[in-house]
Every structure is written in C-alpha cells, then in structure tokens.
C-alpha cells in the first residue's frame, strides 16, 4: 500500500503519522503543500497540527492551498483519504466532508484519553474493529466540537456515515462522555461514498504500548489491502 502524508506549514503530527504508517508497513511519502502533483497513492493522510497556526478558522487556509485541489480530485475518484484532527478540520473546509468543527464547549484546549465507540465497521477504514467496540484514544484539540445541520445529521444516521462517537468506559453515549460538545457525541464521520474519513481522535498516538495502548493499530491494518 502506498500512502501519502500532506504536510502544511504548521502541521505537527506529520512525523507521528509517518511513524505509524511505516510501522504498519505502508510505503509512505511526505508531500510539502507547495507541490502540485500527488504521487500515486492508495491512501492520503492529512495530519493533525495547527496548519497556518489555525489562524482565521482551523483548517480554513490549508483548505485553500494548491495541493488540496489535487486531493479533491483523487478523492472524487475514490482514493482513500484520512483526516485526523486538523486534517478533519481541513476536510470540512474543503467541502469533502460536510459539517464544521467549532470551538470546544469549555473554550479550552483539551488533551486527554477518551473513550470512543465504533459505530459502523462496514467500510474500508474500520473493518477490523467490531461494531460497538470501545476504544481509548487520545484527543488534542481546541476546535473539535462537531456541528452540522439537521439534513446532514439525518443523512449521517441513515446512510451509516458516523464512524465514532464519544462514550464512557461502559459505552454510554451521553453529555458527560462528550468532551467537546459535538452534536450527538460524533467523533468521526465518512463522506457518502465512505472513502473519506475525518476524525478528531488521534489513532497514530495509539500504536505503541510503551506510549499508550494499541487501540489505533486496527485502523491502519484495516486499510492494508
């Protein structure tokens, strides 16, 4: 599998995701945002961080970069695209994913391990997880408060486009287990063709027992072939 990580000025989880992809046997390339051609790839990752300092709106300026036009092109042709944290924000700004990520409801940056539940595994990203499986994954963001309109919310539910929801350790999905105020506790979503996944939690931080746990590895291994 060939993967490509897009690096924007201010991306700062680019090395972390590269380490994870290589550990999982992807052949990975890093692409600087000023380049105008993407290498042939099966998976494109937009990493976490603070592209352009998160100035204006997080993800807004990266969403207007040259390379993004290429990403949009191949995404529409069915290439797999994964946006993590800032990457999710960028994907919503480009319109590849609908909805927006507002400021956390407590107006503070939040870094901690949270529980999320796999809502639908019938897709290329999550097939190695079980439905309703609870994962413990690290979040680190200022704007992770997912919001969208009623129609889109309906579509997300009807077409099974919700990837993860925040929950507690017993799998309860409620206000107490919602770290940032996201609508319906949504932590990650797909586009309607399910070739694009955007998520706030950081699976690349969960591949090494010395650092945390290995709850993130199945996301990457699902994508291998």
């Amino acid at each position: 599998m060939n993967s490509t990580v897009i690096v924007f000025p201010g991306s700062n989880c680019d090395r972390d995701i590269a380490v994870a992809l290589e550990k999982m046997q992807f052949k990975n390339k890093m692409i600087w945002h000023k380049e105008t051609k993407l290498p042939k790839s099966d998976l494109i990752v937009i990493p976490g961080g603070f592209s352009y300092g998160d100035y204006l709106r997080s993800g807004a300026i990266a969403g207007k970069s040259l390379i993004i036009n290429e990403v949009i092109k191949v995404a529409n042709q069915g290439c797999l695209v994964l946006g993590i944290c800032n990457g999710f924000q960028i994907l919503t700004e480009t319109g590849l994913l609908k909805g927006v990520l507002l400021r956390n409801k407590n107006l503070k940056f939040i870094n901690k391990d949270v529980n999320i539940k796999v809502i639908d595994n019938n897709n290329k990203f999550l097939k190695k997880y079980k439905n309703n499986q609870i994962l413990k994954i690290n979040i680190a963001h200022n704007e992770g408060n997912f919001f969208t309109n009623k129609d889109h919310l309906k579509e997300l539910n009807e077409k099974k486009l919700i990837a993860f929801k925040y929950c507690d350790e017993n799998g309860e999905i409620n206000e107490d287990s919602n770290p940032n105020g996201s609508i319906d506790n949504i932590a990650g979503i797909f586009n309607s063709k399910k070739n694009i996944l955007g998520m706030m939690p950081h699976p690349e931080r969960m591949i090494d027992n010395l650092v945390s746990n290995t709850d993130g590895t199945n996301l990457f291994s699902s994508l291998l072939n």
Partner: protein, 726 residues
C-alpha cells in the same frame, strides 16, 4: 537629542555607569548608543549583580558537553546523543499580559534550545501565583496556562511536567518559568561564537516591530516628538512563525553552512550581534536599512532595541548564502543579509549612508559593570513548635484539608490544556514524580522535573538551596533515571537590598553544595531579580530543572500502587520535622521555624540504592516523600491507582502528626512484592540504609491503624474538587 541626567536614569543607568560609558567611548554616546549600553548593561543581559555568585556553581563533569555561557546547556547521554536544555523566567510580562507573556516565554526558551541544533522534545514550566483569594489570581492562572498551552500546542512540542503553586507572596508578582529540552547529535551542536572576517551576517524570522522596546525608557513622550503612537507594546507571540523558523533552522543545520547562530532574545538585535562578536573576539557591522521592519519609519534605536519575537541571527560560511536563502524561502521566512563580521572589534551601525553608532564590543560585554553587592547572612531560625497543641486534631481531617487545598489538588485542570503526547515519545506524562520522554527511535529515555521550595528558602536560604536540588534529584531517581545535570531559574527580589542579596548568595551556596556532592552540575540557567513591588519582595524562589537518563527503557516507573497485598517500605529515617511543613501552613497558617535539614550523605546513598532497586525490577511503585510528608505521599500513591494501603501506627515516635506530616528529607516510599522483599531488604542492609516496613497495599481503602479509614474514591473526589469549583 541631548543626553541629560534624566534620560540616563530613564535608561536604568546610574550616573557612575554613565561616566564609565563616556570613558570607554572617549566621548559622549549618542541616543542610539545610550540605548544600546542600557540594554547590554542592564541586569538581565549583564548579570552584574549575580555574576560573582554564579561563579561558585559546579558546571563540569564527564556528562557535560557545554556548561553555562551558551544559549543552553548540553549534556552527553551516550551513542552520539546529546540533550540540550535551559529554563528562563518571563515573570513581569506575564503579570501584565498573562496569555502573551507566558506564550512568548515558551517561545523564547524554545529558540534557545533549537538555536543550538536541537529538536525540542519537551516543555516544562514552574508557575507561581498569589493567593487564590486575591482578585487577580484567577485570571492570571487562566491566562498563563492557556498561553503556555497555546504556544506549545501550536508548535507541536509536548508540555510534560511542571509545578503550580499559590502563595500570597506572589500577589503582585507572579512567576512564570519555562523550560525547554531538546535532542541533538553530539557532533552537530551549534554555538554562538562568531568566527572569520567578512562573513555574512543574516537576519531570519519575523519582521521587527516596536515590540517591548526596552522597558523603562520609551514610555515617556519626552524624547520623541511622535511618541503618542509609538508606545512600547507587549510582545505578541506567533507560534506558527516559530514553527517554520525552527524547521528552517534545523534544515539549514543539516550541512556545514552555519558558522554560528544566535536567537534574538532580550535586547534583540543588539544583544545577539554583540554576543556573537564578543565570543568570537571580532567586530560586526550592520546595515540597518536592510533590517526587515513591520512598521513604517522605524528608527535605528527602535530596530536595535526591539524585542520582537521569532527572530534569529546567523553567520554563514562563504558562498552558502543562496543555499540558505532557498531553505528559508521554502518555509516562507524572511532571510536578509544585514551585515558582516569585521576585524576591528566594533559594533558598527550604518543607516542611510551614515555611521549612526560605533561602540567597541568589549565595552558592551567584558567591560560591563560587575557589582559585589552587600549581603547579609541569615541566622537559622529558632525552633518554635509546640507539639502539644497538635493533639487536639484529627489525622483524617488534616489530610483532607491538605489534599483539597489549591497547592495539593490534582492539577489535571491545567495539564489537560497541554498537548502532552504530540511527537509520540511521552512515556510518562505529568502527574508523577518526573515525566519520561523517549529518545526518538531508541530504547533509552530521559526524565525531567522542575522543583522549588520557596518557604524553605525563605526560612533559611542555605538549607533551602540545598534542599531543592535534592528534591529534584529524588524526583528523577523515583522514576528510575540517573540524574545527570540541572538548569536553574533564580527568582529573587531586589538585589540592592542586602537581605535579598543574602538570600541569593546563600541559596547559591546551598545549590552548589548539593550539586557538588551529588555530581549534579549546573549547565544553564537564568537570574530574575527585582521580583516585587514597592519594597515588597517575593520569597526567594530558585527553581531547579533536572534531566536524568534511563539507559534501557522497559516499563516506566511511577508512584501509583500496582497490586494488592504488597509490602510498603520507607527508605530513609523519619524524625518528624514539622516546621515549615505543609501541615503547619495549611492547618495553622504557621510558617515559622527552620526547614528540614539535609544530610547529603544520606541523600546520595538512599537515592543510589533506590535507583538500583528500580533497575533490578524489584519494586512496583516509588514515590519520594516531599512537601506534605508521609501521609500525603501515601494518599497520592492511592489516588489514581484505585488501590489503598494499610499502615501500622508508628512504634516509637510519640506524635503521630510529626510522623505522618513531617518533612524529613531523603526519603522514598517503595511498593515491594512480598516475593522480592528479602532481596530488597538485603540490598538496603548491605548498604547500611535505614528503612522501615510500614504496612501493605489493599483494595479500596487507605487505613491507618486505629486512627483513620478513608475510601480511595472519596480521596480522589477530595483531590479533584478545588479546580473544578474555581
């Protein structure tokens, strides 16, 4: 502009100092030159009050590659790996504008570390606020914490440890100290010493604005006709630009283009150029028309004294200019050749085809004033405590009061606002005795911790100075690392007051004694004087930042109990020293008397054996006993582990408060599996280490025989309350 007495004073220079300037120049300085002298000769840059005392610190050792004097200290951790680190204060700016003050503090210390060729791998901070009841404290705390997080999170370096304290001594003068730790290859370290004549001097980074122009001086309208819209402004940090600047510098440092490099910190362009020239014993010529400016009509004075952030000065090898320029252009960072090195040992400034300033480098550096200020010794306070009054109290109530106090509450309200995991090498986050960061791609790690004990230092500076080094060393030992070296941030009051100067001198003697004895040298540091207002000085607050090495990383060691029914041992003797303790402070608001004594022999022996025991995999958990004493330490071991402990009543000591809250030094609590107990005991006995078997771990409850029982769940609740409600 005419230079008069008033203007000299506005620049923070005494009339004697002004006479020296005239003598060194052989003439009167012009306005620009006066500004430059004032920047270079102020306390912050010249260390004029502290230098004499700093000299006594031990700075050498097998592990030291670079001691104080460079942008940061460098130590050797084997396999061609080096760790580069330093701590710095940003106290006054943070009090004025907490968010930006703290943020730019983090930005500044990061530059000190990546200037030397290191990729920063961890951030730490020591923050001290006034009483929680003081009307400013809450917004200062909020602003400082989000400023520290705002900068570190954005640039993508984990903030992994620190300390947060409240005390009314900081009501009008908070402390914000930031420490950065970086990793470099031992054969790829960059220094600020210039070399070679006629080499290009390059300005990279943000444009120069009128930020923070040199405190005291510019505020008045008197010496500038347009002063109304030229007021000095607070520095605003731009972590995004810093991230690009850092990546560009690290990329440039991959080959051999850089002769020397220096960040622009306090006194910006002035101090960076003078420092490079002075270390290289040569001169430097700058063409100020070339300086990238953010505002129109900036004067040479403003350009030379601006403290705009995110800027660096680089001296390049011949012919490398275009190669370097390309790298900075890739990262969208300004790159301008603004001057060259010269052989005539002057700082020469040109502007609009004129020479606007010419000062011998040595006049600004080696000939800057040094003071041997008067200082007085502090007597060891008399013992005062009357232990009879204690017996009316209930042990459990006292413990609860301490654990629910702002100083001893769980700090996750703070640490959740910091990205602790970015870079994916954080093996242990904050919350334990020290954080552990893996060296990327290797099986070894470093441990880091910052510590201070202002009340001990206030009561007896010499003992306090000794103690903080030891406490820091103990924290590193407790996570299984070998302590290698420290950096220190010396926050003190007004040095012109002999008592304050005495606190400074004696704390340093204490620091020196411990560092020497423990082979724990000082490799970098920072002095911050004049902390206080209107003759009210803060308590002496030296902060120690230590780095230790874990050469073979297996599982991180921390302070949380792991198993039911293992034996709990205290290493080190308990005498029951209560004076200056958290117990007396929280329960009786009593802070009289002397701090606990340090026996360096015991400190070293106990620490080395505990490290040995950890390395031999004989313990589940280790916690040093520090502020709060035995019971607070035990409670901390329970909180977060969901396990409790059953502790016997002490046999000998008469007073249980002395036993459970005494702050005798050099002690550790160990959780030992029963099957390893004889091995551990043997190791301790063979080395003549005093230890006590005090009980065992159990489920759910912390129990003291015949005295108290408390549910661990409740304990957690108690410990989490304060920040939640603040």
């Amino acid at each position: 502009m005419e230079i008069n007495e008033k203007l000299v004073k506005k620049h923070g220079l005494s009339l004697e100092e002004y006479s020296s300037i005239k003598r060194l120049l052989g003439r009167d300085p012009n306005f620009l030159e006066l500004g430059i002298f004032s920047a270079m000769w102020n306390e912050h840059c010249s260390y004029k009050s502290s230098r004499k005392h700093l000299k006594i610190l031990p700075t050498k050792g097998k592990q030291v590659i670079q001691g104080p004097g460079e942008n940061a200290g460098v130590i050797d951790i084997g396999d061609n790996d080096a760790i580069i680190f330093k701590i710095e204060s940003h106290n006054h700016p943070s009090y004025i504008e907490p968010y930006q003050g703290a943020a730019t503090g983090v930005g500044g210390i990061l530059r000190d570390v990546f200037t030397m060729g290191a990729r920063p791998i961890a951030l730490l901070n020591s923050i001290h606020f006034g009483s929680p009841k003081h009307f400013k404290t809450k917004s200062l705390l909020n602003g400082v914490v989000s400023g520290i997080g705002g900068y570190g999170n954005c640039i993508g370096i984990p903030t992994v440890a620190g300390e947060t304290k409240f005390n009314s001594t900081y009501n009008e003068n908070i402390l914000v100290n930031a420490m950065a730790v970086g990793h470099a290859k031992k054969d790829k370290i960059f220094y600020s010493k210039a070399k070679g004549i006629n080499k290009s001097v390059v300005y990279v980074g943000s444009k120069t604005g009128r930020d923070g122009i040199h405190g005291a001086s510019m505020a008045s309208a008197e010496f500038d006709e347009n002063s109304e819209d030229k007021k000095p402004t607070v520095q605003v940090g731009d972590p995004f630009t810093e991230k690009l600047l850092m990546e560009a510098c690290l990329e440039l440092m991959k080959d051999n283009s850089v002769i020397s490099i220096q960040d622009m910190g306090a006194a910006g362009l002035t101090s960076s150029s003078v420092e490079m020239a002075s270390k290289g014993e040569l001169g430097i010529e700058l063409n100020l028309d070339k300086v990238p400016c953010r505002e129109d009509n900036m004067s040479p004075y403003e350009m030379m004294l601006s403290e705009s952030q995110e800027r660096m000065l680089i001296i390049l090898e011949d012919g490398k200019e275009n190669h370097a320029r390309k790298i900075f252009e890739k990262w969208d960072i300004d790159f301008v050749i603004i001057g060259k090195t010269t052989k005539d040992n002057n700082l020469l400034l040109r502007y609009k085809n004129e020479i606007v300033g010419k000062i011998p480098i040595e006049a600004l550096a080696s000939k800057a004033p040094i003071y041997d200020r008067k200082w007085t010794k502090k007597k060891l306070p008399k013992k005062k405590i009357n232990s009879k009054k204690l017996n009316k109290l209930n042990l459990k109530d006292a413990m609860i009061k301490i654990l629910s106090s702002p100083n001893h509450s769980n700090k996750s309200w703070i640490t959740d606002q910091y990205d602790q995991m970015v870079m994916c090498d954080t093996i242990q986050k904050s919350g334990s005795n020290a954080a552990i960061i893996r060296v990327h791609g290797k099986e070894k790690a470093i441990a880091v911790s910052v510590d201070s004990s202002a009340n001990y230092c206030k009561a007896h500076p010499l003992t306090g100075g000794k103690q903080i080094v030891c406490e820091n060393w103990r924290n590193l030992i407790s996570v299984g690392s070998k302590p290698l070296a420290i950096t220190n941030c010396l926050n003190f009051g007004n040095p012109e007051n002999p008592e304050i100067m005495g606190e400074f001198a004696e704390c340093l003697i204490g620091i020196k004694e411990s560092c020497e004895f423990l082979n724990y040298p000082v490799v970098s540091g920072n002095v911050s004087f004049y902390n206080g207002t209107n003759n009210k000085n803060i308590w002496p607050t030296p902060v120690i930042g230590g780095v230790g090495l874990i050469d073979k990383l297996t599982k991180p060691m921390n302070h949380l109990f792991k198993k039911d029914n293992s034996t709990i041992i205290i290493v080190g003797k308990t005498f029951g020293h209560l004076e200056q303790s958290v117990f007396l402070e929280e329960i009786y608001s009593d802070l009289d008397g002397q701090p606990p004594e340090i026996n360096l022999n015991n400190e070293k022996n106990n620490g080395e054996i505990v490290l040995d025991i950890i390395k031999n995999n004989l313990v589940y958990a280790v916690h040093d006993i520090s502020q709060g004493g035995l019971l607070v330490a035990l409670a901390e071991m329970c909180i977060g582990s969901k396990l409790g402990a059953n502790i016997r009543k002490p046999k000998k000591l008469g007073n249980i408060f002395e036993y459970f809250f005494g702050e005798d030094q050099s002690r550790y609590i160990l959780e030992v599996d029963k099957k390893n107990l004889t091995k551990v005991e043997k190791l301790l006995e063979n080395n003549n280490i005093f230890y006590e078997d005090i009980g065992y771990t159990q489920r759910e409850k912390l129990e003291i025989e015949k005295e108290m029982t408390v549910d661990i769940k409740d304990l957690c609740e108690i410990n989490n309350q304060w920040y939640k409600n603040y």
